[in-house]
Symmetry: C2
Subunit: 435 residues, 2 copies
Amino acid sequence: MKAYKDMTREELLTEKAVLEKQFADIKARRLKLDMSRGKPSKEQLELSHGMMDVLHSDCYFNDETGTDCRNYGILTGIPEAKRLMGEMSEVSPEDMIIYGNSSLNVMFDCISRSFTHGVCGETPWAKLDRVKWLCPAPGYDRHFRITEFFGCEMITIPMHEDGPDMDMVEEYVNNDPEVKGIWCVPKYSNPLGVSYSDEVVRRFANLTPAAPDFRLYWDNAYSIHHLYDEEEEQDIVLEILEECRNAGHPDIVYKFISTSKVTFPGSGIAALATSRKNLSDIKKYMTVQTIGHDKLNQLRHVRFFGNIANMREHMKMHAAILRPKFELVEATLDREIGELEIGTWTKPRGGYFISFDSLDGCAKKIVAKAAEAGVRMTDAGATFPYGIDPRDRNIRIAPSYPTMKELRKATEVFVVSVKLVSVKKYLKEMDAAAK
Amino acid sequence: MKAYKDMTREELLTEKAVLEKQFADIKARRLKLDMSRGKPSKEQLELSHGMMDVLHSDCYFNDETGTDCRNYGILTGIPEAKRLMGEMSEVSPEDMIIYGNSSLNVMFDCISRSFTHGVCGETPWAKLDRVKWLCPAPGYDRHFRITEFFGCEMITIPMHEDGPDMDMVEEYVNNDPEVKGIWCVPKYSNPLGVSYSDEVVRRFANLTPAAPDFRLYWDNAYSIHHLYDEEEEQDIVLEILEECRNAGHPDIVYKFISTSKVTFPGSGIAALATSRKNLSDIKKYMTVQTIGHDKLNQLRHVRFFGNIANMREHMKMHAAILRPKFELVEATLDREIGELEIGTWTKPRGGYFISFDSLDGCAKKIVAKAAEAGVRMTDAGATFPYGIDPRDRNIRIAPSYPTMKELRKATEVFVVSVKLVSVKKYLKEMDAAAK
């Protein structure tokens, strides 16, 4: 195969004609496929069906301290759930609060609380002229929507292969007291699939924020979500709470986790791990906010897994379903456009996404083209603050939800869309240069 | 029996000696009983055990539209849950949002949202100098704690037998644009157990608030929580959404409900019913806040009850357990202090509480005395804003949680405490008058 950039006008026109024919054929199939969200497939959901049986009318409902999980009581979670979620995210049970089903909601709450009540006695952000927020991008669209919704001024931080650009992060955090937080997905990041290096994590832990109420929003969404079973093929990220303690900054981080992609996305349990000082600050708020989260669902999780070893086995079963899907997409991209020099993509070892960079200015058109042929992708731009990708090139591919058969078709549609939009771009540039 | 107020000093001293002996005997029993919170008893919780069996590994998990309840999706609740919760609270399914397990959390969220983002486009309350809130009292302590936490200036509105003092409510709401809300428990109110009359509900619906972002926080916590099965012994409250629509003010109310005291207090489902305009305002927030609440628990509720008729039958079983407890407390109070003229109390036909008014200045001492003998009551004052009961007389009695045997003992302790504190008060007054 010849790279498009090296093709003559005639070659490009021939390629375009072939692609348009291919696209018309695909479109005629009236596909309806979805590669837009990181949703587990039905097959994955079935892995957790046993969790529907562990609580039943004849069982006991007490936690290990004898608290009746059916009734009111226990604000911060049952001890055995803290232990399990603690092991899942490498922190001590006493550093944790267990919440309801959505870690996104917990992050939203943390920001909302900071606006209405401030962080550990500092001025509520609602009373400040401006709150700035660092957004490593490409990143998670739902993170950016929260800070946008609260009117934060979002600052894009470039993502590298080992994490966010730390020179820039340090420059902002250590000097600007208006910078109050940063979104981080440290492991198998959304959408790049990269993990933060030890150096990056240590530089985070050693930040000396100008704002005393600056916090790392450390979304450990994919802590045990490996695609490969062998340890040498798994990413390892330093534990941030410990690094922050070692650096003498125990309070600068909130670490979030959930079982949404371990058990059921709609009915998992979420948790927050942080320092004693932050926990006490947060509990003051929680005490007023609720009488307690769903303890039966905590108990259900604990009884189903029993221990972290079983949870790890369970994640291997997820990986067995997910791995071929990632490999299918990657192999198709390699084969179909590997030599065309019209795009690059990541090959993550865990998480839920492959990140694709097209030629500049092509992402929106590619996503629109795929949609025209019945394949829904995440909106182009979504992976950047305010939904604006300055180079219009990043596309998040979510291979988890479709079946292998559907994924094969969807990837085919995507590939043809990428090629077609790229050919047209080159042709347009040639025409412009000729004038 | 002779009223204490008519006793001579000698009679009071004799009574005091008898009571002190009784109290010492009780104290020696080292009781540990709790009448402080409206917690269902173990017997009541067992009524819902069947709900633990309706979902299991071999069942289907789709809602009636085919949405998989195990996965992400459906922000505002599955249709069949909206229908069930709608029937429970006499509103249309399309007027509802279904949430997680805590209606208190939904109320907290509404207030938090109003502070950070405003109500339907009005100025966020965080940007206002002052927000005032009307608090009918005696009322629910957890309500008052929310508005206190957000720094609202809470204004006490006296409660009458047919609801809050509406002259005062109208005066404030219709003239003061700083008044943004009012806490209401319209049916079997916490703690009085009274229900709002038709006239009171209509006056609420016909308010013409000075603030466009004023809302009734209508906590329909005990909508189907009758103590008696016969309809003529049940309270009926006009449906507020309909009344507000009829009055031409469809947007002034948020109505809250939950199944916390229908199924499991820790693991019920909560809901909000309100106008289309408010729903759309709230959805803008929810879309950012979460990907969705626990739909499996919604499905569990729907499959367990099937329809509202079964839910009503279920509530009769709750009533059969609760009724004797209420009657035991009332009968004991009648018998032991009915003629002593040292207290009055309510005889509710539903809900979770009996409200007791002691002689002025005695409530704190009575609660302390009961605690000394091992019986925990709700803190005196808790039923008023800022925890300050101006006459120090209201005590909330929660008879639901203890067994009948425990309740008999606890009520005995309470009665002796009331008598002892009252005798001492009269003696002290006599001594003061003699000086």
